[in-house]
């Protein structure tokens, strides 16, 4: 006890309630994972920047699909990657840049704005926030990117029809490749999120993500020409190619193994992110 309260000091304040009793009418329940997911969903949808990046990726994928198809109507002199079923999906080069940025931003925006303190004061056990952000990102971006990929493919077939043979989703590995592209883009974004939880700064996480998906595979193959490709097949980009391109890639993993490897990267990143989030001051 540090003080006894003197009624004279508090003026005409109403009678006090004993310290042990809740004085306030309960207006809420306990924090639930479901509630935190609803919260993160609102946060995702209530930022103009988030929606703009997502829209840019969807439109970019579809427009690029149509443009690539238009430019490759004549079969003569085409590169192999333009002829295969996944040819019109090369808009994923833009898509992965934008999804990496989006994955980073949904997390790093909390740190750059200071919002993370309000967020973690509301959810002091912390990990439900990481889970909720990953769930919302997976669902929203997953659906968006699969739809974008499907749209890009189908639009391209319309542009190509009458010029050279088109592909249908039912044949061979086409459906797997088209959906796989959407899945790949979503997983790239989740890697960005994991790195943002770890480094907390937007530029830092962005550089780290782009280095891992774009720069490291190229450097490995340059530095170790003989066996670099064996390793890059297991990196996120290489593993992703195994299920997102119709083009044969040397030393590539089988599609399901590739998917498992890429998911493993995401899980590993999120586990590291959870450890940092749980134990580091904010």
């Amino acid at each position: 006890m540090t003080t006894t309260t003197d009624p004279a000091l508090s003026g005409d304040a109403p009678a006090r309630v004993d310290s042990g009793e809740p004085v306030a009418g309960r207006v809420d329940g306990p924090v639930t994972q479901r509630g935190v997911i609803a919260s993160e969903s609102l946060k995702f949808h209530s930022l103009r920047s988030t929606l703009l990046v997502l829209a840019a990726a969807i439109i970019g994928m579809v427009v690029l699909g149509a443009v690539i198809a238009f430019n490759t109507r004549d079969r003569a002199g085409l590169d192999p990657e333009d002829v295969v079923a996944s040819g019109p999906l090369q808009g994923y080069y833009l898509g992965q840049l934008l999804m990496a940025a989006l994955g980073v931003l949904v997390v790093s925006g909390e740190y750059s704005s200071g919002m993370i303190r309000a967020t973690l004061a509301a959810v002091p056990t912390r990990l439900p926030v990481l889970i909720a952000k990953a769930v919302v990102f997976t669902v929203v971006v997953g659906i968006s990117m699969i739809v974008a990929s499907l749209a890009a493919f189908l639009v391209a077939q319309v542009v190509l029809s009458g010029h050279r043979p088109t592909y249908s989703l039912g044949e061979g590995s086409t459906l797997r490749v088209v959906i796989g592209t959407g899945v790949y883009l979503t997983l790239v974004g989740l890697i960005g999120s994991a790195l943002a939880w770890i480094v907390r700064s937007t530029p830092g996480a962005l550089v780290a993500t782009l280095a891992i998906i774009l720069v490291v595979p190229i450097l490995l193959e340059l530095v170790f020409p003989s066996w670099g490709t064996y390793i890059t097949a297991y990196l996120p980009t290489g593993a992703g190619q195994s299920f997102s391109t119709s083009l044969p890639v040397p030393h590539a993993l089988s599609p399901w193994t590739g998917l498992a490897v890429m998911v493993a990267w995401v899980v590993a990143g999120m586990v590291a992110a959870a450890a940092v989030l749980k134990h580091k001051d904010v």
């Binding site: 000091l9 304040a13 309630v17 009418g25 207006v27 935190v36 309000a118 134990h279 001051d281």
Partner: protein, 319 residues
């Protein structure tokens, strides 16, 4: 009730909070005073589990903050005016917090109304003034109708109306039996709001007492005396155990006497047959007492003559 027990936070080799122990009672406003960098914010962040104590603990109503199932119902906190994403509207900011623990949409409208932001609730927070951001922070703190309210420098950025509003709000919340804990580096602000005061400097506890006692102890009185026989009077006063200082800038030779009352000075002068021209009792200011208390713990010193108070005191009126 908030209980800190030898709460300590070290960053590498710097000790930010050094073995703080105190209990903050419900039903009154408790002020947390100290110069900038004294460790107030770090202490408050540890209360909310945002920073992990290096040793010791701080409990809120008997539990660590993170152990409460409904934390927003337990503690409402205003940590920084800008713990808010600028791209989101005020309403969506509050809704996103409310959703985590199933707080109804109606409560969001209620707190928006309480802080007077209903009309701008759809605007992006990035367009808000400092004062509006502060009001939104207060709304967020009140969202869960919490038993304990922790506010870090709540008057920063508020205009005079806003300061009066927050003073009345805090008094009312405490009157409802809640624990209200607010920090400030401004003594004058705290003297008007808080019933109890905790003063820290360089992370250490300096005072933990009722505001009335702090003020009484702080009000060290002195006596100003002007006499044609100043030197002789000073001699007599010193013999009587008083401390006498002469203001060098005062050509009249006014004496400032501490340790005796004005009545003592008059009696002594009469007995010695010394003429007095002026005799005035003066009480010391609270601000001076606070500054004297925390002076040794400042990381820096005010540049002489530039600022009689704390350098940041102008923030109070910035909006």
């Amino acid at each position: 009730m908030i209980e800190a027990r030898t709460l300590t936070k070290k960053y590498d080799d710097k000790v930010a909070v050094d073995g703080l122990s105190f209990t903050i009672e419900p039903g009154i406003v408790t002020g947390f005073l100290g110069p900038n960098g004294a460790g107030k914010s770090t202490t408050m962040r540890m209360m909310l589990g945002l920073d992990r104590p290096s040793s010791g603990s701080v409990l809120i109503n008997g539990k660590r903050y993170a152990e409460h199932a409904a934390p927003l119902n337990e503690v409402g906190a205003l940590l920084e005016a800008r713990a808010i994403h600028p791209g989101r509207s005020a309403r969506n900011h509050l809704l996103s917090l409310a959703l985590t623990s199933g707080i109804k949409r109606g409560r969001v409208e209620q707190v928006l109304d309480m802080v007077g932001l209903t009309e701008v609730a759809h605007k992006r927070v990035g367009e808000f003034s400092l004062g509006m951001g502060q009001r939104l922070g207060v709304a967020a703190a009140l969202l869960g109708d919490p038993r304990t309210i922790i506010l870090d420098e709540p008057v920063n950025g508020l205009d005079l109306d806003g300061i009066r509003w927050i003073r009345a709000l805090l008094t009312r919340l405490a009157g409802e039996g809640r624990t209200v804990f607010l920090s400030s580096h401004l003594m004058s602000e705290m003297a008007m709001t808080a019933e109890h005061v905790i003063v820290i400097g360089k992370g250490r506890l300096l005072r933990d007492q009722p505001m009335a006692d702090f003020i009484r102890e702080a009000a060290v009185s002195s006596v100003r005396v002007l006499s044609p026989e100043g030197d002789r009077l000073a001699e007599q006063l010193k013999n009587a155990g008083a401390t006498v200082t002469v203001d060098a800038t005062d050509t009249d030779g006014t004496l400032t006497v501490e340790g005796v009352t004005g009545r003592d000075v008059g009696t002594l002068a009469a007995q010695a047959g010394i003429t007095l021209w002026e005799l005035a009792a003066q009480s010391g200011s609270l601000e001076d007492a606070y500054l004297a208390l925390t002076r040794d713990s400042l990381d820096y010193q005010d540049i002489a003559g530039l600022s009689p108070r704390h350098p940041d005191s102008t923030e109070e009126h910035a909006s």
